[in-house]
Amino acid sequence: MALNTIWVYVEQLDGKPTTLSLELLTKARSLGAGSIEAIVGGDASGIASTLGAYGAAKVLATGDLGGKLPGVAVASAMAAAIAGGDVPDLVLFGQTYEARDVAARLSVKIDKTVLTNNNDISVDGDGVSVTTAIFGGNTLVTTKFTAGSPALAMFRPKNFAAEEGGAAAGELVALAVPDLGAAGGATVTATHVEEHTGPKLDEADIVVSGGRGLGEAEKYSMIEELAKLLKGAPGASRAIVDAGWVPYSYQVGQTGKVVKPNVYIAAGISGATQHMVGMKGAKNIIAINKDKEAPIFSVADLGIVGDVHKVLPKLIEALKAR
């Protein structure tokens, strides 16, 4: 017996589905389900053709949420559909700020567990199993859902390719949001876009991250400068995010972002397991650290045992001179 229906929670950025949403749709197509349906918190009229091309036969959209945070609104709409008899076997979410809220609220509403931080999924008959990496990415744990439909699972970015399947636009279906009561009270009053000149951290081809070895917050500018020269994105270890040098959005690691760039440069980062799980999937890793025993060197393709305050300025100089 195969799965009947898979729901994929789709997020939008600048009026387009996010790459992670398209990765999940593409993966859903390979799982042999009868039907794939996209769930959109917001207006989906502009993206139905793209979602269809990536495999969504239907696009269930709430319409404009009027500034409400999507978590409770979308979860309530999904739970109402499920209560009405429209029960998917599986719901796929990206591991994002928004989707975490939706999945968590939904898990309570339908009293089902949600498995997070996954990097793979397999379907055997109507059994669904997901795999997550733990202990710095050294150990893979595969877990099977055992409580019936729907199985709720969240996935890290860049584990699946995003490829069009060539189908027609998804059929738009209204997903009604029930009255949310007091729980629906959180409202967005303003949106601030921080200036990013380069690519997004989890989509960049090159990532340059700094850690405690930089010594002080001001020295992080070297990381930003090097990232800019390489047309990459700057990242950070948890230690310097905790210290308040850079915002949480810069954090690479188990808590934070998982990145899989072509080149990852770790400067002044020792390589705690917390950090390694977030960057071990990079194709090429360059590490600069004073301590030759630092664990980061065990995964580096090129390791420089040296002082970041000496190596980075020379590296920046050399790249500028080109």
Binding site: L69, V72, Y97, R100, D101, A104, R105, S107, V108, K109, T113, T116, N117, G137, N138, T139, L140, V141, T142, K144, A182, A183, G185, A186, T187, V188, T191, H192, E194, H196, V241, D242, G244, P247, Y248, T255, N262, V263, A272, T273, Q274, N284, I285, F297, S298, V299, A300, D301, L302, G303, I304, V305, G306, K310, V311, K314, L315, A318, L319, R322
Partner: protein
């Protein structure tokens, strides 16, 4: 203003983690410490209560074996009291069951204007518990707060987004999760550490809270395999002799990224 902070006591992250071979769940034995991620919530709560000019900070936590050493750290920072859920039947609980126990513990504290949690724990990092607690309590929630202020009966938050941040607000009572670095956690003073020893910790079981322990077997999931990930081969490691940068440049050249 009364604030309840959800705190987790975890094995020291500096020591390598291990799985219990019989259940394949994380081993959480022996001395546990306050999760660094939760120190921000405790500090935030203390600052908000001080700014409000009255009220107190309470803690809720769930841990095996009646473990309180991490709770004492948060009490030493200035929290007034704690409810600790500790019950062998809760061992191996999933995030949803954990949220159910903590939500009941928050109700046991009573009268919380605001509930604060970290965004995710350092050891399990499921990252769903704060929002699940909000749903169980029927309250509005704002996750990933990087700045928090209270204005009357409204909580105003700068919420981290993919592109920057949103200003989000909702009425109290509410639940928020705070990111690392949102405030600078204070170090417990000697006086605080001494005072913490006599602060009340109400230790309760699942039955005391009216929660049905799901335990691992009933959590709707079963671990079917645990295996080693493909290891990365170590590459070339060289001492910087002043020309280390040139090695990096030539490596980048071979990768055709410069």
């Amino acid at each position: 203003m009364n604030v309840v902070v959800c705190v987790k006591q975890i094995p020291d992250p500096a020591t390598p983690g291990a799985l219990d071979p019989s259940t394949n769940t994380l081993k959480r034995e022996g001395k546990l410490i306050l999760d660094d991620s939760d120190a921000y919530g405790v500090e935030m709560a203390l600052q908000l209560v001080t700014a409000a000019g009255g009220g107190e900070v309470s803690l809720v936590s769930m841990a095996p074996n009646g473990e309180t050493s991490g709770l004492r750290t948060a009490l030493a920072m200035g929290a007034a009291k704690a409810v600790l859920v500790s019950d062998p039947d809760l061992k191996g609980s999933d995030a949803l069951t954990t949220a159910k126990a903590l939500a009941k513990a928050i109700e046991r504290v009573g009268d919380a204007d605001l509930v604060i949690a970290g965004t995710e724990s350092t050891d399990g990092y499921t990252g769903t518990v704060p929002e699940q607690i909000a749903e169980l309590l029927g309250r509005p929630s704002i996750t990933f707060a990087k700045h928090v202020e209270i204005s009357g009966t409204t909580v105003k938050v700068q919420r981290q987004t993919e592109l920057g941040y949103d200003e989000v607000e909702c009425s109290l009572p509410a639940v928020i999760s705070v990111t690392a670095g949102v405030v600078e956690p204070r170090y417990p003073s000697f006086k605080g550490i001494m005072a913490a020893k006599s602060k009340p910790v109400d230790t309760v079981t699942a039955a005391d809270l009216g929660v049905t322990p799901a335990g691992w077997a009933a959590a709707g999931q079963e671990i079917v395999s645990v295996g080693a990930a493909e290891a990365r081969a170590a590459g070339e490691v060289i001492e910087d002799d002043g020309e280390g940068f040139a090695k990096i440049v030539s490596f980048l050249e071979t990768l055709k990224v410069v």
